[in-house]
């Protein structure tokens, strides 16, 4: 009796898990299948039906060549903004987190508290004052308007702070100081080589935050040639007939996009993030510290 009852419980749990898995995976599956179909097929056929490879190739071609290869320009812009922003975020966050965790200076606790507070603040709340600042500095419309704000990455500072406080024994740094290293060399020769996992993690989060950012580039760019892919996607939605029928009366010369094209564009937009994740994951190797000190 007891066994069958446990069995039944297992089945119930399994069923609940399956329902939730399906709930979250169905939209993703739909998204990846959509570009293989025509707009008509998307509406009439089963959501899980596979269209054809030739339709997929056709969709890909349409979206890439759309409006003078705009999608490729946007991807390139996104890459510049994101790599620039990530580099700046890592350059600022890693030393800052290190200093908060392992050195002593006046105001350290206050700075740490401020870091926590601003981490909770939504980034969008700062976009307007940032716009005014960037404008005053004469950087509006330049790539710096989208890179400089990422030098301020409190989440990365906090992650680094946690990592250094938890994994690097203070005696290790004391040993280096006694061995003749100044503060800069202690950081460069000891702390940084041991921080590879956190550099990868902070870099990854900064990259994703920058790549997926919408509101900041929405405010900071004014020309389609400066758009990152996220703003470009919004423009594509505006060009999709079924979402915006008023603009596309019969006989218009503008290329009209359809829903499968939009799905293709979304896949193109998320692909780089997936690639960066695979790259960063390899560096997230732990166990670097085994053997530093005897536990």
């Amino acid at each position: 009796m007891a066994l069958s009852r446990r069995h039944a419980m297992h089945l119930v749990v399994l069923a609940i898990l399956l329902v939730f898995t399906a709930f979250f995976f169905v939209p993703i599956i739909w998204l990846f299948l959509a570009p293989t179909k025509t707009d008509g097929q998307l509406l009439t056929e089963s959501p899980f039906a596979f269209g054809s490879l030739s339709t997929l190739a056709h969709t890909f071609h349409r979206i890439v060549t759309y409006s003078g290869y705009s999608v490729l320009i946007w991807l390139k812009n996104s890459a510049i903004y994101s790599f620039g922003g990530t580099a700046l975020a890592v350059l600022a966050a890693i030393p800052a987190g290190y200093a908060l965790a392992l050195t002593h200076f006046i105001g350290r606790r206050v700075l740490l508290a401020i870091t926590l507070v601003v981490m909770i603040m939504p980034a969008t709340a700062l976009v307007l004052p940032l716009f005014l600042e960037i404008n005053k500095l004469g950087l509006y419309g330049t790539i710096w308007a989208l890179i400089l704000p990422f030098g301020f990455f409190p989440f990365g500072v906090y992650l680094t702070y946690i990592y250094f406080s938890a994994t690097i024994p203070k005696d290790l740094l004391a040993a280096a100081r006694i061995d003749g290293a100044g503060e800069w060399r202690v950081f460069w020769h000891i702390a940084l080589p041991l921080a590879r996992p956190i550099v990868a993690l902070v870099g990854f989060f900064a990259f994703v935050a920058s790549w997926n950012n919408f509101f900041l580039p929405f405010v900071m760019t004014y020309d389609s040639s400066q758009y990152p892919i996220q703003i470009g996607l919004q423009q594509l939605i505006g060009s999709t007939a079924s979402f915006n029928p008023a603009n596309y009366s019969a006989g218009s010369s503008i290329v009209v996009l359809h829903r499968p094209d939009l799905a293709m564009a979304v896949i193109i937009a998320i692909a780089p993030v997936l690639l960066v994740f695979l790259f960063a994951q390899r560096s997230l190797v732990t166990g670097m510290l085994a053997g530093a000190t005897k536990e």
């Binding site: 100044g182 020769h189 053997g291 530093a292």
Partner: protein, 366 residues
């Protein structure tokens, strides 16, 4: 080659009222192996870290060869330190660990290699030079930590309980090696331990600390024979010195109904309370009717000797904070049996007297 001098050196941690190290006056002589010993929290590690430059000196001064170092950064003090947990750089090989300080000092690479190799040879770790610390055993890591210190040829070695992470057998072997190595190199060494056996076997002199205050600094022999106060008497020696409550009588010290005669006149009045210190080997069986009566509750037969634990009777009290049993050393196969009532006497000239309130030694012999 260096002389290290602490002059009224004091360190009080933030948010603490009591100094961790309180007005320390101590000199480590040129080439000397000086051991700082005491119970945990006595300030011995803080003292070491003050000399290393890892702790501030709030008052007083610390100098090396007559020059104050309190305002120098650790890297400018020309000292090397072996940490309790070794603190080896995990991302560097053994050779890189040992050569790091020389690299920081911009010593030419060929010379670094030469000196690392020479130090590795002394410590017998040549075959591990290319390994990472995590690939080494605890004992090997300990040697690398030693190697990192000796490669530098510093003025002073600092060692913070370097043996406490080793197992008992390896600890005894390494103890002798470190002491021999230090004597060969002749580098002034300050060594911290909580283990009084380690202190007694390794140090040229031993400084005993308690609650941030230096109690006594002398050779191991002198500490054992002539402790400055009741704390040093009880801390040094294993098993510990027996501490009993006594009162000054006429021509001797009264323990219950027993009187231990004192030849010199005591500098305290008759009737005053004193603490009587008797080491286990200072006790012997007394003829029936004389001596301190005690009932044997346990016998430790160790082969070469035997320790008898006995509960004192007839109004003889143990001093406050002391053990509740008297421990007496016997030759093997001569120890009394458990449950037996024995009478113990102090061997001539072996009794130590301490002031019952201050704990200071009263200089008089029985």
């Amino acid at each position: 080659m260096a002389i290290v001098t602490f002059e009224a050196a004091t360190r009080t941690y933030p948010n603490s009222h009591r100094p961790a190290v309180d007005g320390l006056d101590l000199e480590v002589r040129d080439g000397e192996f000086l051991v700082l010993v005491g119970p945990s929290g006595c300030g011995k590690t803080t003292t070491l870290r003050m000399l290393a430059g890892l702790e501030n000196v709030d008052a007083g001064d610390i100098s090396i060869d007559g020059k104050s170092v309190v305002n120098l950064a650790p890297r400018d003090r020309d000292i090397a330190m072996v940490f309790q947990n070794y603190a080896l750089y995990p991302h560097m090989s053994v050779a890189q660990n040992m050569g790091f300080a020389l690299r920081m000092a911009k010593v030419p690479k060929s010379e670094i290699d030469e000196r690392v190799r020479a130090a590795a040879k002394i410590l017998d770790i040549e075959e591990y030079l290319e390994r990472k610390p995590r690939q080494l055993s605890g004992g090997q890591r300990q040697r690398v930590a030693m190697g990192r210190a000796i490669v530098r040829q510093p003025r002073v070695f600092l060692m913070d309980e370097p043996l406490s992470n080793l197992d008992a057998k390896l600890r005894v072997a390494t103890r002798a090696e470190i002491a021999a190595l230090q004597r060969n190199l002749g580098v002034t060494t300050l060594y911290v331990t909580h283990d009084q056996v380690e202190a007694m076997t390794m140090g040229d002199r031993v400084a005993v600390m308690k609650d941030g205050v230096l109690q006594q600094c002398d050779t191991p022999r002198a500490l054992y024979d002539e402790p400055a106060n009741v704390f040093v008497g009880g801390f040094i020696g294993s098993p510990s010195m027996n501490l009993l409550e006594g009162t000054v009588g006429d021509g001797g010290v009264r323990l219950g109904s027993t009187v231990i005669p004192v030849t010199e006149s005591l500098p305290i009045p008759v009737g005053a309370p004193v603490t009587v210190g008797l080491r286990p080997e200072s006790l012997a069986l007394a003829p029936a009717g004389g001596g301190i009566p005690a009932r044997v509750s346990m016998v430790e037969e160790l082969g070469a000797e035997a320790f008898v634990h006995a509960r004192p009777a007839d109004g003889v009290g143990m001093a406050q904070n002391a053990e509740s049993m008297i421990v007496a050393r016997f030759e093997p196969r001569t120890a009394p049996a458990t449950g037996e009532l024995i009478h113990l006497r102090a061997k001539d000239g072996s009794m130590l007297l301490f002031d019952a309130s201050s704990g200071d030694r009263i200089r008089a012999r029985s």
